[in-house]
Every structure is written in C-alpha cells, then in structure tokens.
C-alpha cells in the first residue's frame, strides 16, 4: 500500500497483549483514514452505551494516508472514542510531529481496549511495540513527563501524553503531544487516564511511500510555489505573522460575534489588549510549524510579568476567546499563563474557559457563593482565572467542581441553562446569533459544538471563499451538509483544515475537495473519483450518526442553549437576532436523507454500506 502503511496495532491494556493487524484495503478506501478509520472501528467493535471512563470504551489513534508525507500541512492525527464530557462519539485532532512519527513507524492506527492494572506507557520503536511501567511518571505534569520519556526511550522520539488532569479524569482533559499540541476536546485525556495509559511514545525512521512520485512532486511544487509567490508578492500570511488569534479576534469583534461574558455580550471592550498583534508585541519569541506546514501559525511565547511567568506555545484564537473575552479578562499575561497551565496539566482551553465563564455567571447571579467556590469568581479577574485553571487540572478545591465541565457544574448549582454548550461540549468563539449557519454547524456537528467540523464562519464572517448572508437560514442546511463532508475528508486524510479548506478545495461555496483528491490519488494510487471521495465523507458522517443514535442521541440533542435561540444581543452589529435552528435542522436532515428525528433511514445506510 502507498500513503497508508497497511498496519494497525491492537493494544489490549487489560491483558497487556499487543497484536499487529493488516489494514483491510477496502476499509481504508471506504473510510480514508484518521477520523473515518477511527469511527469505523468504534462502530464495529466499540460499545456506544458504555461508560466512557470504563474499560469497555475503545480509543483509536489514527493518522491519515497523507499524514507524514510532504504535502503541505499533512501533519495531523485524530483520537476517536466515546467522549467522557459528552457521551457522544468524539474525534479530537492534533498536529505537531507525533502524527508523522506514527506513520514513519509504519502505522496507520492504534486501537486501545481495556484498562491496565497499573500505569503504563506504550513505546513504539520502529516496528517494535511494548508496554512499559509508568508508575514513576504518574502525577508528573506534561513537560516533565515528556522530557523523562524522551530520556528513557529515544531523544528523537515523539510523545503524546496526559498530565494530572487526564489521570484525575477531568472531563475535558486533553492528550498533549510535543508538550503544547492538544488533542483537546471532549475529554479524550480522561479516557487515557481511565485506562491507566500515561503516554504513547513513538520513533519512526521510514518515510511514507508515495505511489506516483512524479505526480506528487508536480502537485506539491504547484501548491507550495503558489503559496510562496503569494508571500513574496503581497506579504507574509497574517496567520504566520500573528497567529489564529491575530486573524480572528478583530473580525469577531467587528462582526459583533465575539462571545463575551458567558455569551451575554457579542463584543468585548478589552479586545485590543488580547489580539495577535498585541501578543506579537509583548510575548512572541518565534513562530512554529507543524510537520510539513509552510504557514507556521503556532506562537512560541514567553511571559515575564510577575505572577504570570511562563513559556510555551499559545495562546491561539480559541484560547484568547475562552480564557479572555468569555471571562471578561483583558490581561493577556493572565490568559497566556492560564494557557500554559492548560498545556502543562493537559486541559482543553475552550472547555476550561467556558466552564470558568459559566462559574462567573453563576456567581454573578448569586447561584454560587464565595463559600462554595472557595472565594469570589468575578468577571475579569485574571489572577483568579489562573488559580482556577491550576485547581481544575489538579482537581483541588473548587477545581473539583470545575473539572465536571460547564454543563454538570451548572446543573449542580441549579441552572443548566447557563452552560453554553451543545451535547455538553462548550461552544467555540463565534456567536451563532450573528452567524446562522454556524449555529446549525454547532448543533449538528457529531461531537458536539465544534468549529472544526465545518467552519461556517469562513463564508458567513471572513467571507471565504466569498461572503454570504450570515442572517439567512434557507440554504444553510444544504451548505452545512456539504461542508461537514469535506471537513470529514480533510480530517481523514491527515491535512489541516486551516490550509486545506482554503487552498485545496474548489474556490466556490460548494467547496468540493478537488485539490485534496489530487493529493490522495497521487499518494495512495487509489484512483478515487470525486464522487467516491465525497461518498466516503458522507459515509463517515453517517457512521458517526449511527454511533450517536445507538448512544441515545436524536434531534433533541442537536441543540443550542436557550440564550442563543431566545436572547438577542441588544447592541452591536449582530443585535436583535436569535438562531432559527429548527428550520435549518429540517433542511439539514432532508439533505442528509435522515428522518425528521435526525435518524438515518435504512435506505441511506444501505446506500453507504452501513447496513
């Protein structure tokens, strides 16, 4: 096989047994890799009704056929499991270097089952895989864990690990690779913790084989030259210069869709203090790129302000939103320090910020007292933000409540309507009251509210590939259906959505993945037609939906909080609007071939080979 390594590792943590298995070429073709491959195994062999923190939950780490090649941004892998925070299927994405190393070690995926009796880590050295004791690492934070493991194995290896948050089963614990890259959402870190799996360490030296090397080089040169010429002609990409926090912050503010004060406001007065340009001026050390990425949007930063000292990567836009505007914190040093703590403890920054903001509103309204929270939880308090982040990662004091995520926190204190979530997953930084399609995307995204499964803010706000009416609802069901499929293809090939959804798709609203198709065929030799590739994307979305249905989800769970469907902003460019979700869902289900309750019909499932 080309692109695909043709090999899966099965690791049963209960028995300690590791087995190699060939990747079925038909499965590879039908599900592509990465996210698709993961959901295939999860649906076939996992248990949608299990407790996500029980040994019965299966966890798949899967890279795509392009991951580890030199196609631009071919650096990604996904973690697919039943999410502890949501109870839904989840696919959590990360880049950096670890995914490439997995492929260079000769693997497409690792399937974890069961639970180890004592803490272990998986060490993969080229073809050889073994489980090693990790008791001496248990309790260590992510940086120390990573450094210790590199000494014990190979300094050139790559580490994906959990910190105290995952060990202590914080419901939004992350899996961190290269210390600062996060498979962040839905609590995949807690799944590892529940299995006593501290880390996966991998060293690979074998480049990914390419089916048609000349064709691949031709395509690659074309894409990269176009990118570099753009930089030469007009200037460096703003994404390179100032990061995602540079590119998105001014736009959400100007559009009035910057979720502020737990979504009570759509603009943040302190926004200029937390832009990417401010970060560049104050704390940026250098940029950093994932494997094979020409953009380098990652921020390597250092803060020297007393009380907030630290260094690492970030913050990204979502972090600036969640730990900043959402909590009314305009102190960039505090946001950056909280961000470092999230990386070091292994926490999702979006859910961390969303949960603290929820606590701040509960406190504001008198539903949460000083005594219960161990002190005040006031809007804008950067010092307290940092403290609460640390307490959450260690599950100490009020951090133990915050570790539940905003939905269970708000429920505990009597007001679940104040949790700004969909399927219990905290919403990312784009207010759907100003972006109807994004609202539909959040509600129908399989994992819960996610901008990464079909980013409607691109056409509705940024204006790419071209601007569309953000307040229109008609047609959004059809558009979101297509975008969901294209993004699932990107997630399954191993590319980065920020590059691929812009540069490797048709420059039209119907973003057919023409460029991605070329890469996949040149690398794998599979000779997909565009229809086949799109069908694979549709299959993946439907497989995820089948898992959800079996886990008890239906139309009522494709929801948004009542604030978004019932409370318009009173000022700003998005004032006076609420999300008209139900009519968009009707259209989306129709386009999907699902019934009015959001259940895939037998006809649709048969068509996709899922029945």
């Amino acid at each position: 096989m080309y692109g695909w390594r043709g090999k899966i590792l099965r690791v049963d943590l209960s028995s300690g047994k590791i087995k190699e298995e060939n990747l079925d070429p038909k499965v590879a073709r039908d599900y592509i890799g990465g996210r698709g491959l993961g959901v295939h195994y999860l649906l076939k062999e996992g248990d949608p009704t299990c407790d996500p923190l029980s040994p019965e939950n299966m966890m798949v780490m899967a890279a795509g056929p392009l991951t580890g090649t030199s196609a631009p941004t071919a650096a990604r892998y996904m973690v697919i499991t039943k999410g502890p925070l949501t109870g839904a299927v989840t696919c959590s994405n990360s880049g950096g270097q670890f995914p490439k190393e997995l492929k260079w070690a000769g693997l497409d995926a690792i399937i974890f089952t069961g639970k180890a009796k004592e803490p272990v880590y998986l060490w993969i050295d080229q073809g050889k895989a073994e489980l090693r004791p990790a008791k001496h690492l248990w309790g260590k934070w992510v940086p120390e864990t990573t450094d210790t493991l590199l000494k014990e194995t190979d300094p050139k290896a790559r580490v994906a690990c959990i910190g105290p948050a995952g060990e202590k089963l914080v419901l939004f614990a992350a899996i961190m690779n290269e210390k600062d890259r996060a498979a962040g959402r839905s609590g995949v870190g807690a799944v590892m913790g529940s299995k006593n799996l501290k880390a996966v360490v991998v060293r690979g030296k074998d480049a990914v084989p390419i089916a048609n090397k000349d064709r691949f080089t031709e395509i690659n040169n074309g894409v990269l030259n176009k990118f570099r010429e753009g930089v030469k002609k007009i200037g460096p990409s703003p994404l390179s210069q100032h990061g995602t926090i540079g590119v998105m912050t001014p736009l959400v503010q100007k559009f009035g869709v910057f979720p502020t004060k737990n979504w009570q406001q759509g603009q943040f007065e302190g926004w200029e203090a937390i832009t990417g340009q401010t970060l560049t001026q104050k704390y940026l050390v250098k940029t950093r790129a994932c494997w094979a990425c020409p953009v380098a949007c990652a921020r390597v930063t250092k803060v020297e302000e007393p009380g907030y000292e630290g260094e690492g990567e970030g913050p990204e836009f979502e972090t600036g939103f969640a730990l900043g505007a959402l909590c009314m914190v305009d102190n960039l040093a505090a946001i950056t320090k909280a961000n470092y703590l999230c990386n070091e403890l292994g926490l999702d920054t979006i859910s961390m910020g969303g949960t603290i903001a929820c606590a701040m509103e509960l406190y504001q309204r008198g539903y949460l007292t000083d005594k219960q929270a161990g002190g005040p939880v006031k809007w804008g308090d950067g010092k307290r933000l940092v403290e609460l982040t640390r307490l959450t990662g260690l599950r100490e004091g009020f951090g133990n409540d915050l570790a539940l995520g905003s939905y269970r926190l708000a429920e505990k204190y009597g007001h679940p309507e104040l949790a700004m979530v969909s399927k219990k997953l905290e919403m990312p930084g784009y207010d759907p009251r100003g972006l109807q399609g994004q609202g539909l995307n959040y509600a129908t995204s399989p994992i819960g509210a996610s901008h990464c499964r079909g980013h409607m803010a691109y056409p509705e706000m940024v204006g790419i590939p071209k601007p569309i009416d953000p307040h229109e609802t008609k047609g959004k069901g059809k558009l979101v259906k297509l975008w969901h499929e294209v993004f699932s293809i990107i997630d399954s090939t191993g590319l980065c959505i920020f590059f691929a959804a812009r540069n490797l798709v048709r420059p039209e609203l119907e973003i057919y993945p023409d460029g991605i198709l070329e890469y996949v065929n040149a690398v794998t030799g599979a000779e997909y037609s565009l229809d086949e590739l799109m069908k694979a994307g549709e299959r993946i979305l439907n497989a995820e939906r089948v898992f959800l249905v079996r886990a008890g989800f239906s139309r009522k769970d494709d929801s948004l909080p009542p604030r978004l469907t019932g409370e318009p902003h009173t000022s700003g460019p998005s004032a006076g609007k609420v999300v008209h979700l139900e009519e968009m869902k009707d259209e989306y289900y129709r386009e999907r071939g699902w019934d009015e309750n959001g259940i895939p019909t037998d006809k649709k499932l048969k068509e996709l080979g899922l029945k």
């Binding site: 994404l239 995602t244 100007k254 559009f255 901008h451 790419i464 601007p467 812009r502 460019p573």
Partner: protein, 77 residues
C-alpha cells in the same frame, strides 16, 4: 466627520498615514468602491471589507463616522 478606516496586516502598506488605523475624509456621496480607489489598493489584491461589521458591496454609500475594516481573507480557527 471622517470615516474610520483600519487596514489590517499587509494591507497596512496602503495607509496614507503610515498607520493601520486612520481617519479618512472621503467627502460627500462617496461609495466604498471610491474609497478603495483612493487608497490605491490594487484590484488583484485579495481583500474583504466590513462596513460597520457587515459585508457590503462596493456601491454602498459611506457615511460620516462609518467604521471600515479592510483585511486579507485568511482561514484560521
């Protein structure tokens, strides 16, 4: 009252004041298209414009105090 213009990222090189943000006296009855001409941003430069937080077409008349944000359209998260 002038309009407030913000030229973002590499578009800032077209600022008449050398600063990203500046006030601009466009005069009466002037459109967005006219503003872009006067700023001399080349036609083949990919850019998007928000006027008071909305995408509008270049025939739109600009008014005193309008907020005009001109930026290179970039994907990100």
């Amino acid at each position: 009252m002038p309009i407030h213009v913000h030229l973002f990222a590499y578009l800032a090189k077209y600022s008449p004041t050398g600063k990203e943000k500046f006030n601009f006296d466009l005069g009466p009855e002037k459109t967005l298209g006219r503003l872009l001409e006067e700023l001399q941003i080349p036609g083949d430069f990919e850019r998007r414009v928000l006027v008071n937080g909305r995408h509008v077409d270049t025939a739109t008349l600009l008014r005193d105090g309008d907020d005009v944000f001109i930026y290179p359209p970039t994907a990100g998260g």
